[in-house]
């Protein structure tokens, strides 16, 4: 397995620690005037998102994680998972409902997801940052509400995503959504 020296660790690198894949989110150089140097490294577990801090002797080697990434198009849902197709190889694969998790609210035909693999197994699926979808259910906006500063109302989209939209948005309208925050970005002109 290839490895990297703590001196060459950069934010964004993916490493393997205790048989788990981690993303480097910080690397601080700590050194007493006349002593051993250390690197205090902040890591985010790529499977569960938990952040940990580890201190290494400067120059110690850390294994690089066997990470592959692919762009995969959503094809259809099955009972035990979701089928995606690799944009390059056209290979199809089923990803478990468990891993898809709350991302099921962004499953829409022809949408290309970014999928991260660790040792060949998918560990994370990321929807496009912005998606366009039709609002299928939202209560009518009440004009008076703006006075109290409430300018947003709940809405459900065609994919089942629960988002917040401005009160002027009506059912059947197409909107642009930020999938990271479930927030409305803009209306999309038909």
């Amino acid at each position: 397995m290839s490895s990297v020296s703590t001196n060459d660790i950069r934010i964004g690198m993916k490493v393997e620690v205790d048989k788990e894949p981690y993303l480097i989110i910080g690397n601080e150089f700590v050194k007493p005037g006349k002593g051993q140097a250390f690197n205090r490294i902040k890591l985010k577990n790529m499977k569960n998102g938990r952040t940990v801090e580890r201190t290494y002797k400067s120059g110690e080697k850390i294994d690089l994680a066997d990470i592959e990434e692919a762009e995969m198009r959503f094809v259809y849902k099955e009972s035990d998972g979701v089928v995606f197709m690799d944009e390059k190889t056209f290979d199809q694969m089923t990803i478990s409902n468990e891993l898809v998790g709350t991302n099921s609210q962004w499953l829409m035909e022809d949408t290309v997801f970014h999928i991260v693999f660790y040792k060949g197994e998918p560990i994370e699926i990321v929807p496009p940052t912005f998606m366009e979808m039709v609002v299928t259910d939202t209560p009518p906006g009440v004009r008076g509400d703006t006075a109290s500063g409430r300018v947003l109302k709940p809405a459900t989209t065609e994919t089942g995503a629960k988002i917040q939209v401005p009160i002027f948005v009506e059912e059947g309208e197409k909107v642009k959504v930020d999938t990271r925050t479930c927030e409305y970005v803009s209306r999309v002109n038909p």
Binding site: E28, F29, K31, G33, K34, G35, Q36, K57, S58
Partner: protein
């Protein structure tokens, strides 16, 4: 502040010396690496220590250097490969008086602060709750959750548990280092224990200075340098050639104390910053 620093020395009749940055033999330390220039021109100095000591041996008297020094691979919020150092030497001065003068220099940056002298042993007892010479290696490894050798564990405890606590609202003078941490300091017996006459001063958790009662024993230094080179080799680093001109000059080195101080760090703490980058015109990753 550069002007104030120079005025501090002028008022005390300490002469400024402008040492060249190019050296043939780099100072030997297992944990400091030099930037090599090319095969014909040696290295950039990591401190002006050898040059100043040679001048002291030739009789220059009290002197200081204020300028840039270079260290390979040191980059972080407290490190830049090129940084500004003040280093000065005082002849026939008591170790305690040298500490006092260093604190007075630091007052230029922070105003007057209380001074606390803290022994290395006491620091471990107070902040880690251990007797650092008695504790077993397995216990040390447990404390640091590591498989490191003894020295590495000790350095970890200093940098992670002790240093952040030092110099809070005061200047903490860490002293009485163990003999193997002497570097170029002389070793004395204190309370039945061998201690290096070396001190580091901290303010707000940041190490600012490193000072010695200077060792003039060339034979002892040769042994220490050889030891440092062995440690370098063990880490897979190239050994450095011994500076014979420096070693032979030590024969006439007068009784003196010396200290080196990180100017950028002092500026950083003065302005309550978390990194030295804003006080350096263009730090390494801004070039």
């Amino acid at each position: 502040m550069l002007a104030e620093a120079r005025a501090f020395f002028a008022a005390r009749n300490v002469m400024e010396v402008d040492c060249g940055a190019l050296v043939r033999c780099p100072p030997i330390d297992s944990n400091i690496d030099c930037i090599g220039v090319d095969q014909d021109h040696g290295f950039l100095h990591t401190s002006p220590e050898y040059a100043l000591k040679r001048l002291l041996s030739e009789g220059i008297g009290d002197c200081y250097f204020l300028g840039h020094v270079y260290r390979k691979g040191e980059l972080g919020h407290l490190h830049n490969p090129e940084f500004t150092m003040v280093e000065w030497y005082r002849l026939n001065i008591a170790f305690a008086d040298m500490i006092q003068e260093t604190c007075e220099f630091l007052f230029l940056f922070f105003g007057k602060k209380p001074i606390r002298i803290l022994g290395y042993r006491e620091a471990f007892e107070t902040y880690v709750g251990i007797n650092y010479t008695e504790i077993s290696l397995p216990e040390l490894q447990k404390l640091t959750s590591s498989t490191w050798p003894r020295d590495t564990c000790i350095y970890y405890l200093i940098t992670h548990l002790i240093e952040p606590k030092l110099g809070q609202g005061e200047l903490t003078v860490l002293t009485d280092f163990p003999p193997h941490e002497a570097a170029l300091a002389s070793v004395a017996t204190k309370n039945g224990e061998q201690v290096a006459e070396r001190y580091e001063i901290y303010h707000e958790g940041v190490e600012l200075t490193n000072g010695y009662h200077e060792l003039a024993d060339a034979t002892e230094l040769r042994t220490r340098f050889t030891q440092k080179n062995t440690e370098r080799a063990a880490e897979g680093k190239a050994p450095y050639a011994l500076d014979e001109k420096f070693l032979s000059a030590l024969k006439t080195l007068p009784e003196c104390c010396g200290v080196a101080l990180g100017f950028d760090r002092a500026m950083m703490v003065r302005h309550k910053l978390k990194s030295i980058k804003p006080v350096i015109p263009f730090a390494w990753d801004e070039l």
